[in-house]
């Protein structure tokens, strides 16, 4: 096995790459060698320098120092155009597609042959059909990209790269947005491409996936390469340790003795239709007990966001009732729905999914972001006058308790990394000792080290008798945290399981059941 790998020539060789942004050394003497026709994983936490390295390779940035060789020849890559010409193809985490154009036009863009589109389209279609056949990447070329599913868009991106003659594919966090079934499909395609001689560089932080698909792995931390080996010779634990620089445990830790206490929240028959007239929640009912973490699993966009909005009082449903402690809320005449102010008074705290839009004001200094929503508390203000010193002190305390780095209350909110922002928001919400905590995507865009920390705090809160609802599109997170799991799919709760009955396969099926049904319908039609 290893001998076979040795024989393969190098597809990419980056040597001694340095790249600095202002005071930040994003890449510090980084070297990377990728053998042809292998899948090479590039792993590391956020800000470890993986994306910068790949941007240098793809011509988005110029390295301050260092050499690049593609297929044995030294090259300079001044821009993306040059990269494409050298046979590189990149699939970005945020798809580089135009929603309003057709799939075909998206592929064509930048590689049109001739001034008039009609001929170019016809020629491209022919080549693409052949390409689809050989690679197994099937996309409806005439569909508007805006109407395609996330998995389709990703296939389109890969197809686009192949169409441009890519022999070396760079995929940036490709599975972050996929359902387990779609991930399966993607991996099958990548394996097939590898067989056909394509080289794949996979940027990821999901170590299990690395172990399943990749041949080689390079681990980066703080701008340097810290570990490099064949997959066959390593384990998830070793890789995680190399990434974070210390031992981490992301597995389950069993709850303290006492199980679920009294019921804290009951929601019944929630129905929510959004402004576009799309039904987002259909007859959703759930209850939360003291001292348990309830996980809501599901592919993003299946009603979880709306569920959080309705439960936290940010949005009123069209139908349904909510019982919170001794109070009841509803939408019938004479009743009113919860609003966020009352929610706070009743001890319901909310860590929103979209940190930037809902949880912080990015232009505020940290100490202002850290009291938002609680600024009316007597500790923070008196007759409308803010107590600046008290707020600063409170923020400093939060920062030391939640290990927010750097611990500078004056620093702008946007200057913190995602993990530290999230810790600050969590500190703010937990700080008032809530009886109920709603958390959306607690670790989206957060490093492994911080994930471990955040999970530990949530467990602590549970053990202290708080009732916690965690919405996450990361199955691993649900499995690590939850005591009870609700699965959401197309606006309904399609399954409720105690954690003992959960595994990735069962949840994955519950999450994507209608996917299968929809596909069947499409095939019939």
């Amino acid at each position: 096995m290893t001998e076979q790998v040795e024989v393969k020539p190098l597809a990419v060789r980056m040597h001694n790459i340095h790249k600095r942004f202002g005071t930040v050394q994003a890449n510090d003497a980084v070297s990377l060698s990728v053998r042809a026709a292998t899948v090479h994983a590039l792993v590391g936490e956020n800000g470890a320098g993986k994306s910068t390295l790949m941007s240098v390779l793809y011509g988005f940035y110029q390295a301050d120092e260092g050499e690049i060789e593609i297929e044995g020849r030294p090259v300079r890559i001044p821009d993306a155009h040059a990269a494409i010409a050298l046979g590189l193809g990149m699939v970005h985490q945020h798809f580089m597609l135009v929603d309003r154009l057709s799939a075909l036009d998206n592929i064509l863009l930048g590689a049109e042959q001739g001034f008039f589109l009609r001929r170019a389209q016809a020629m491209a279609r022919e080549r693409l059909l052949a390409l689809m056949q050989s690679s197994g990447l099937v996309v409806d070329l005439d569909a508007r990209v805006g109407d395609l599913s996330v998995g389709d868009r990703q296939r389109l991106e890969i197809l686009k790269a192949l169409y441009r003659g890519a022999r070396i594919l760079i995929l940036d966090e490709p599975t972050a947005v996929l359902t387990p079934a779609e991930t399966e499909q993607l991996f099958a395609v990548l394996a097939k491409l590898r067989e056909q001689g394509c080289t794949v560089i996979l940027i990821t932080h999901k170590l299990k996936e690395v172990m399943r698909l990749c041949d080689q792995v390079t681990v980066m931390r703080a701008g340097r390469v810290v570990h490099e080996c064949a997959i066959a010779e390593t384990t998830v634990e070793q890789l995680a340790e190399a990434m974070v620089g210390r031992k981490v445990s992301l597995g389950r830790s069993e709850p303290a003795e006492e199980v679920a206490g009294e019921i804290r929240l009951v929601a019944e028959g929630l129905r929510f239709t959004d402004a576009m007239g799309c039904v987002r929640l259909k007859e959703v009912s759930l209850s939360l007990r003291a001292g348990e973490i309830v996980g809501v699993a599901g592919v993003a966009g299946n009603g979880q966001s709306e569920l959080l909005a309705v439960l936290s009082g940010l949005a009123s449903p069209q139908a349904g009732r909510l019982q919170l402690g001794a109070q009841t809320f509803g939408v019938m005449p004479g009743e009113r729905w919860l609003d966020p102010r009352i929610a706070r008074q009743l001890g319901l705290a909310h860590v929103p999914e979209d940190r930037h839009a809902r949880a912080m004001v990015m232009d505020f200094p940290a100490w202002e972001s850290a009291v938002l929503g609680y600024e009316a508390l007597p500790a923070y203000s008196h007759k409308g006058w803010m107590r600046r010193a008290a707020m600063m002190a409170a923020t400093a305390a939060m920062m030391s308790r939640f290990d927010v780095r750097p611990p500078l209350p004056q620093l702008g909110s946007s200057k913190f990394s995602g993990g530290n922002q999230q810790k600050l928001v969590l500190a703010r919400e937990i700080g008032q000792n809530p009886v109920l905590l709603l958390v959306g995507q607690p670790t989206r865009g957060v490093d492994i080290g911080a994930i471990e920390f955040i999970h530990a705090r949530l467990r602590e809160l549970r053990d202290a008798g708080c009732s916690v609802l965690v919405v996450s599109s990361e199955l691993d997170e649900i499995l690590a945290l939850a005591d009870r799991v609700l699965v959401m799919n197309a606006g309904r709760i399609t399954g409720e399981l105690p954690i003992e009955a959960c595994d990735e396969k069962t949840l994955g099926m519950l999450m994507s059941e209608t996917d299968v049904a929809q596909v069947a319908e499409e095939v019939e039609a």
Binding site: M90, L97, L101, G110
Partner: protein
């Protein structure tokens, strides 16, 4: 209504609509590339002044046209320099162009020609004449007045509508232009210059604004008068938005505005049943009122390009 009246109504509709069409197309090109162009009014006004001044000094319609296009082009490039290269606010830059145009044309007009801001009246040989002046006699009142007998810019404007549509929908340049207005990151990733595309769009935009401005001086009037655009740039902008950033619906909106304008002139002093004589001011305000009503009431969900107004910055 007799044939003559219909014919002249149609004729004045087209005459009023022509600068609107040219400007609206200019707006479509700029905004589909992601650059808000609120400066149509100012560019048209400057172009009109340039046409008037150059026509008066050199006595050549070609020089007048070239001057108008050159000035509008320069202003478009200024807009691009501020908004595309330096990522300035596109609305502020456009407004700056409008304010600059309103003041500068008057000041330069007074300084150069001493006629209260007007330029000297252009002799007939400098003005654009109808291609076929005898058309009404040959073809009859309706067709002769309504469809034939215009100057070259009217036909050019009409021909440019499918022209711009073709350019946007059927060419490589058009595909890239549309894409850059929706998602410049993707265009950059595809190895095509975002700035290059936006500047090309603005260059075409300047060309069309120049034609619109010169039409006002060389065809509609015989001289430049201060503030002679009278909000037409904004109406063209409204027509473009009402047409959802597409050339053909924008043409329809321009024709509607042109028709209302023509109707307004017809209706002056007319006595309508029930209402009686309609005040002139109301009639004159009608096209503008309709602009507001149409934009507010009948727009539906807008279809603005995704990256409209957002300067492109490479992120890391």
């Amino acid at each position: 209504m007799d044939e003559l009246m219909l014919g002249t109504l149609l004729a004045s509709t087209l005459r009023v609509a022509t600068p609107l069409i040219l400007c609206a197309l200019a707006g479509v090109l700029a905004e589909r590339s992601g650059v808000i162009d609120i400066g149509l009014e100012g560019k048209m006004l400057c172009a009109a002044f340039a046409a008037g001044a150059a026509g008066a000094v050199w006595g050549s319609s070609f020089v007048a046209l070239a001057a108008a296009i050159g000035v509008a082009f320069a202003l478009s490039m200024l807009h691009g320099y501020a908004c595309v290269i330096h990522r300035g606010d596109q609305v502020v830059s456009g407004m700056a162009i409008n304010i600059l145009a309103a003041g500068l044309t008057v000041v330069l007009g007074i300084a150069c020609f001493h006629q209260g801001g007007q330029t000297p009246a252009l002799p007939d040989e400098v003005r654009l004449r109808a291609l076929w002046p005898e058309a009404p006699e040959v073809l009859g009142d309706l067709i002769g007045n309504g469809l034939a007998g215009y100057n070259v810019l009217v036909y050019l404007a009409l021909a440019l509508v499918p022209g711009v549509w073709l350019l946007l929908q059927q060419t490589r340049f058009g595909l890239r232009l549309r894409a850059v207005g929706e998602n410049p990151h993707m265009v950059d990733a595809a190895g095509v210059s975002v700035h290059g595309l936006r500047f090309s769009a603005l260059a075409l935009n300047g060309l069309l604004c120049g034609l619109a401005g010169s039409y006002l001086v060389l065809a509609q009037n015989a001289a430049f008068a201060p503030h002679m655009t009278a909000g037409r740039g904004y109406m063209a902008l409204a027509a473009m938005i009402f047409g959802k950033w597409r050339p053909l619906p924008a043409l329809a909106a321009c024709l509607l505005f042109g028709f209302l304008d023509a109707l307004a002139i017809r209706l002056q002093g007319a006595v309508l049943p029930v209402i009686g004589e309609v005040p002139v001011q109301f009639i004159q305000a009608l096209p503008y009122l309709m602009t507001v009503i149409l934009l507010a009431g009948f727009m539906g969900s807008s279809q603005a390009p995704g990256a409209l107004g957002r300067p492109y910055l490479k992120e890391r």
